[in-house]
Amino acid sequence: MYSEKVMDHFQNPRNVGEIKDADGIGEVGNVRCGDIMKLYIKVGKDETIEDIKFQTFGCGAAIATSSIITELVKGKTLSEAVTISNKDVAEALDGLPPVKMHCSNLAADALRAAVEDYNKKKA
């Protein structure tokens, strides 16, 4: 039911963990639906994402989307990064099963929440 790419990211997730002195943290989802994603970003020169890490409680799709978004946005500027949609994330994984599109495809939302958190802290 999952693409090879999803299984690869599930099996070998990129950038797992916590950034202790993160500049922004975004958390989305809830235990009720069974998915919680937490993204940590470290923002460097020219507002680029210097480092990004994730922690996720959730199904295969939730873990794979969290993993791939860290690859997609690392090194990008914040304004570039926030243009990525949940749909882009799913496409980068060669698609997700239809039932997963809503409940577990939250990585782009988590990223935007992290950027918002960064902007708030900065202000």
Binding site: E27, G34, C59, G60, C103, S104
Partner: protein, 392 residues
């Protein structure tokens, strides 16, 4: 890679001995049992012999076996059929919160049509209390349906006591025994049920065939309309090969029930002991009123589907009550009815053993699971009670 199938509650492989007796009924003995000529008469005898055999094996001396397309259809005929046949008497039906969807959704469909439905709660082990049933029965109650053994957590209900309560009040009692047959002794006369559901593919028989036992005198309105087969309870030309296979599978399941239980019980206990020794892993269900083949645990801070996928990569096939695996947004209604919180229900894992399960399989599972849990917990943003000792 080692392959370990621990999903026997989902389905079982067809036994060689069953396949063997089925094969002649696809092309060699192809007659329609309703035909008057020799080709049909020969098959009629076979179908009736299977019916009598199934009835004897289930110990249901005061009723008949009706062959159906499986557990789902048997449940639907029993519930919708009996409720409609008794519509003049009353419009209240009673079930439990941990039923299979074949029962629960059939009951809910009656509710939509204006019936009154009581869904009895269960305790933390998944048990329905006979007292709560007695309290729920009104003079409008026409049917009670409570499963014999639960497909997720393996809890065995006190069917004899529950059926007795229904009988005292003159109310029909149906039980879904799909998971019970072959795992625990089943004697329908002793249980005192009016209707009982079984399914072929859970007992090493074919998929798409099942049976409903109906005690003499109990009327059901058929779901389908057509020929006179199965006394019109279930019209349509009989699935002869399936029926022959079901009877043989049932024969073997009943004959071998005791020895299978003797083999599986120590394996179940070993698995439960090994898994619940891991940090923040808990057993779901009852410790002793439990099917011999069922282990169901919750792994705190880890989601069930990610456990299944990880185990699958290690060659171990299991299932979960997590929402992600049911195609729904809510986790298992069974676990929620037992009072588990969402996270614990999402983190559930069901392992159901079978005839082929060996001690080596269990050792392999116990070997592989700790690493998988550790890996997934390391990814989880949820922290353990005692701080972060489990999170790397």
């Amino acid at each position: 890679m080692r392959k370990v199938y621990l999903d026997h509650a989902a389905t079982t492989p067809l036994r060689e001995e069953v396949l063997e007796v089925m094969l002649p009924y696809f092309s060699q003995h192809f007659g329609n049992p309703s035909s008057i000529h020799w080709y049909g008469r020969e098959i009629r005898k076979v179908v009736e012999a299977a019916r009598e055999q199934a009835k004897a094996l289930l110990g249901g001396s005061s009723g008949s076996i009706y062959f159906t397309s499986g557990g789902t259809e048997s449940d639907n005929i029993a519930i919708l059929g009996a409720a409609e046949a008794l519509a003049k008497k009353g419009n209240h039906i009673i079930t439990s919160a941990v039923e299979h969807h074949a029962v629960l959704d059939a009951c809910k469909s009656l509710e939509k049509k204006g019936y009154e439905l009581t869904v009895l709660p269960v305790n933390q082990h998944g048990l329905v209390s006979p007292d709560s049933l007695a309290a729920a029965i009104t003079d409008k109650t026409v049917l009670v349906t409570i499963m014999h053994a639960n497909n997720e957590v393996g809890t065995i209900q006190p069917i004899k006591e529950l059926a007795a309560v229904a009988r005292q009040h003159g109310v029909l009692f149906h039980s879904d025994g799909v998971q019970a047959v072959g795992q625990i002794p089943v004697n329908l006369d002793e249980l005192g049920v009016d209707m009982y559901t079984i399914s072929g593919h859970k007992i090493y028989g074919p998929k798409g065939v099942g049976a409903l036992y109906i005690r003499k005198g109990v009327k059901v309105r058929p779901l389908y309309h057509g020929g006179a087969q199965e006394e019109k309870v279930r019209p349509g030309t009989e699935n002869v090969a399936g029926i022959v296979g079901l009877a043989r599978a049932l024969e073997l399941a009943v004959e071998e029930q005791r020895s299978l239980a003797d083999t599986l019980l120590p394996l179940r206990e070993k698995m439960i002991k090994g898994l619940t020794a891991l940090p923040d892993v808990t057993l779901n269900g009852h410790t002793s009123l439990r099917l011999p083949n069922n282990v169901n645990i919750s792994v705190d801070r880890v989601e069930g589907e990610s456990l299944i996928l990880s185990l699958d990569m290690a060659g171990i096939a299991v299932s979960s009550g997590s929402a992600c695996t049911s195609g729904e947004l809510e986790p298992s209604h069974v676990l929620m009815a037992m009072g588990l919180d969402h996270q614990t229900a999402h983190g559930s894992l069901r392992m159901t053993m079978g005839r082929s399960t060996s001690e080596q399989d269990i050792d392999y599972v116990l070997d592989v699971v700790p690493g998988i849990i550790e890996r997934l917990r390391a990814m989880s943003p949820l922290k353990g009670e005692g701080g972060k000792q489990n999170v790397q």
